[in-house]
Symmetry: C2
Subunit: 228 residues, 2 copies
DNA sequence: CAACGAATCAATTGGGCAATTGAATGATTG
DNA sequence: CAATCATTCAATTGCCCAATTGATTCGTTG
């Protein structure tokens, strides 16, 4: 009976340890980036803008918690999530909770989007609804290597940085839906804002690849379509 | 552009703050208990076996994070989750992640269950399958007040502590399924073990009320059946 | 109004975690 | 084999958080 108590406190301790692993802004950002696909320490440090040694140490921390694993490839070390679906799910649950509980997050998001009044945001269900009514073009505005690591089936890769140079490829007779890493990623917002300034019909999909993974949606990798 | 970076780091900070709120064994236990229903500080301190002032302070912490709210009722303060579904979902995601990543948790769970070899554990899907094949009796072995705050529609309330005195009420021609607070709660394990020793056909349902809430299952409260 | 009980506050202590820096490892390239 | 680059390790500092204790607030009851 007493042993039951020990078991419970042990489980709570381990759960807390796991939660602590992601209870840090930098590590959250790293995990969020890794939800997009495997990356080297260099890429992670650069994309998150944090010092090099810092990134490495936080990755060690995450590795201790078995959330990520690193594999040496040549002179680089490539990190990946041990389990995409479970981790993306955890992150998504955290984001849902924050959106529900944290008024400041909602306020910040609203404040941010107010600078881009013309940017319409829709969720996955609404997007599917619209796709039934008219043909859409879906573009993935994340960096090319993240697209390569997994993307929406049928979406084009059109990284935000290349967008201005590749406008000629885009159709003007169809509406364009842009997505990126998730609800708090700014890539798609910028893309849609720019496209609308250029006279395109465009809107933003709120969810990103992480959310789809957590929901078990289909993901395309190269030629094949998988379910994670 | 720079402002976008600020927005992102701000969001990560807030997410980390929220995660920190549950990244503590005691607070996790409190939240887990509150997933069963509203409780006073006294009840929470007693059930978790932690000092009184400690419980109060941790509850303050959770209240800062807007996860819980307290309401004065007479000389007692009753705490409840601000949003059952979202919080239970977060907790469930954390438990799934731990079950996936933490070998020690799995080992501990297995080690614990080995003392109760005869206790069969089934998940929700399997239970529904069996219910189609034969009539079952579903019993809720949590304390009566947790049953009152929300339970499986059609289940009987039969707290573990009363079980030995109320064996006469149970049928011997039907199998009995017992559930409690969740996968890491020990009440149902003890109940099933005891019932089998007494010659009943009994097994344990792994999921608890928290998991159902997170999945949007129906919950009965008094006479009405709700969806959370 | 006094006494009691529930809950919170205040203040101290100790321990652990994060940022930073510089050095060390380990693989690749010329 | 030396040089270079990516990554990790080690060690320092400072800071925040948790546990504990005792005092305080607030409502209820006699």
């Amino acid at each position: 009976m007493d042993e039951a108590r020990h078991f419970q406190t042990f489980v709570y301790e381990r759960l807390a340890r796991l939660a602590s692993a992601v209870a840090h802004p930098r590590r959250l950002e790293l995990v969020d980036l890794l939800c997009q696909g495997p990356m080297t320490v260099e890429q992670l440090a650069q994309k998150s803008g944090m010092p090099f040694a810092s990134a490495s140490q936080h990755l060690q921390h995450l590795r201790m918690a078995r959330l990520v694993e690193g594999e040496r490839q040549g002179s680089y070390v490539c990190y990946r999530l041990v389990d995409d679906a479970v981790t993306c799910d955890l992150l998504a649950a955290l984001q849902r909770a924050a959106a529900r509980y944290d008024a400041e997050v909602r306020a910040a998001a609203q404040g941010f989007l107010q600078h881009y009044r013309d940017v319409e945001s829709v969720d996955l269900a609404t997007l599917r609804e619209r796709m039934r009514q008219e043909p859409l073009l879906l573009i993935d505005v994340r960096p090319a290597e993240e697209y390569a690591a997994g993307h929406w089936p049928g979406a084009w890769s059109l990284p935000l940085e290349d967008l201005a140079n590749r406008l000629a490829e885009l159709p003007r007779d169809r509406a364009i839906a842009a997505y990126c890493r998730g609800p708090y990623c700014v890539l798609a917002v910028h893309a849609v804002n720019f496209l609308r300034q250029q006279g395109f019909r465009a809107f933003r999909l709120i969810e990103g690849v992480g959310e789809w993974r957590s929901r078990g949606e289909m993901i395309a990798v190269g030629d094949e379509i998988r379910q994670t």
